[in-house]
């Protein structure tokens, strides 16, 4: 076990009853990132600046993968005039990991304007990653103008007609959900009845000891409804996952790292590989945050997740590009 540091967030929510009824809301803001490891139901989170102090043995597991998010290929405004370079930097960082990830998860906003050449660029850059398989879910920027037709053609092979899907890796059940379609005026992200019904059926046969990892673009917990940072019907989805001892939810969309534990569910949001967004309510709008060029890479990141079979342990690392 790594030595405890001041930045460590320790929360036992499955086993020993420490703070079980409450929830931990830890916010490892953009610029710092967080390394989280869940072992035997205990979630530990470390500031990325302290990763160097960690024993690499603690980062090892039987399954590791990397989450990247919000590449916004095609964005070219002052907040980041070269999003291709920062995505490439994320890939370089992935390739430098001591434990090569088995696959990548991309939690949406692959493109900025749903243009074919934007999708092409991302696919091209990700080809240079050590991990060859990439599992995608769409962000709202990927389904512009065509109700997601192009996204589904490119990335939706094997998925349900609506784009959602599930798969198993080493005993872990992954659920890729879509919550960016048919958004209603004044509302938040939406899963919709069809997807919820599919979800209920999909997990019904699973043992409650199966670790579940849900990934979707918009947070499945209400981060900040004033900016639309939440999903209307996520409570219903989470209700179907109540029987499971270990549920981890990975989201993007808000371009900053946030974590929260609620009951059996650990929520994480990842940084963007393109540009940071302000903390909830700390700016007039959630528009791109302009930071000095030399700081930009410290607020962009990748999330590295390790799963240790048998202990139901997940380690989540949100690493910055600096």
């Amino acid at each position: 076990m790594a030595h405890r540091t001041k930045d460590e967030i320790l929360h036992d929510h499955n086993h020993d009853g420490i703070d079980r009824r409450g929830f931990l809301k830890c916010m490892a803001w953009a610029g710092t990132g967080a390394f989280c490891v869940m072992q035997g139901g205990v979630l530990k989170s470390y500031s990325m600046s302290r990763l160097a102090e960690m024993n690499p043995e603690n980062m090892k597991g039987e399954l590791s993968f990397v989450q990247i998010s919000d590449s916004h290929m095609g964005f070219n405004k002052p907040a980041n005039p070269d999003v291709a370079a920062t995505l490439q930097a994320a890939v370089d960082k992935i390739n430098a990991l001591s434990v090569p990830p088995e696959f990548l998860l991309h939690t949406g906003d692959i493109s900025h304007l749903s243009k074919p050449e934007e999708f092409d660029s991302v696919e091209q850059i990700l080809k240079s990653a050590s991990a060859k398989d990439v599992f995608y879910v769409p962000g709202e920027h990927d389904v512009l103008n065509d109700d997601g037709k192009q996204y589904h053609e490119r990335f939706g092979k094997g998925a349900q007609p609506g784009g959602w899907y599930s798969f198993e890796k080493k005993g872990v059940h992954f659920l890729g959900l879509v919550n960016v379609m048919n958004l209603k005026a004044g509302g938040l992200g939406t899963l919709g009845n069809e997807q919820l019904e599919w979800l209920e059926k999909d997990v019904k046969h699973l043992k409650s000891s199966t670790p579940i990892i849900v990934f979707a673009h918009i947070p499945l917990w209400t981060v900040y409804p004033e900016w639309g940072w939440g999903t209307e019907d996520s409570a219903q989805a989470l209700a179907y996952l109540k029987k499971f001892g270990s549920v981890t939810v990975l989201n993007g969309h808000i371009h900053q790292t946030m974590q929260k534990v609620e009951g059996n569910v650990t929520f994480h949001t990842a940084c963007s590989t393109a540009f940071p967004q302000p903390k909830p309510g700390e700016a007039p709008s959630p528009g791109p945050m302009k930071v000095p060029a030399e700081q930009l890479r410290s607020v962009l990141g990748i999330t590295d997740v390790n799963y240790v079979a048998g202990q139901h342990a997940l380690a989540v690392v949100d690493s910055t590009l600096a």
Partner: protein, 119 residues
């Protein structure tokens, strides 16, 4: 000599005035046949529509312009009009030919809502 210059300038002034009258008449003729086009503009800035609600006469063409560095859309809640995605500085116009209330929102950021009232 001085006098002839004066006359010349008088003639020039008259010609210019005459030209001006002709132009005005053209304008008058047009406006007599169809009402002058009414226009209004809604700016999209900081993830909001401004003004958030406007009242315009029937026949008004409303133009939305995106001043954000993030793309937005303008979509009628009742599916009366729908823009393509508007990147920075791109515009969308719609002419309202019937009186009524037209709520709309950005389908990418649905917290962004606005309303056009046509009278």
């Amino acid at each position: 000599m001085r006098r002839s210059v004066f006359i010349a300038s008088m003639i020039a002034t008259a010609v210019l005035s005459f030209g001006g009258v002709v132009l005005e008449q053209k304008g008058f003729v047009t406006s007599a046949q169809e009402k002058p086009a009414s226009t209004a503009e809604v700016k999209i800035d900081n993830f909001s529509f401004g003004p958030v609600a406007i009242t315009v006469p029937v026949g008004t063409t409303v133009t939305w312009i995106n001043r954000d560095d993030i793309p937005h859309t303008v979509v009628s809640t009742e599916k009366v009009f729908k823009s393509k995605v508007l990147d920075t500085d791109e515009k969308f116009s719609y002419t309202f030919t019937k009186a009524g209330e037209y709520p709309y929102f950005c389908s990418i950021h649905p917290k962004m809502t606005g309303k056009i009232v046509v009278q």
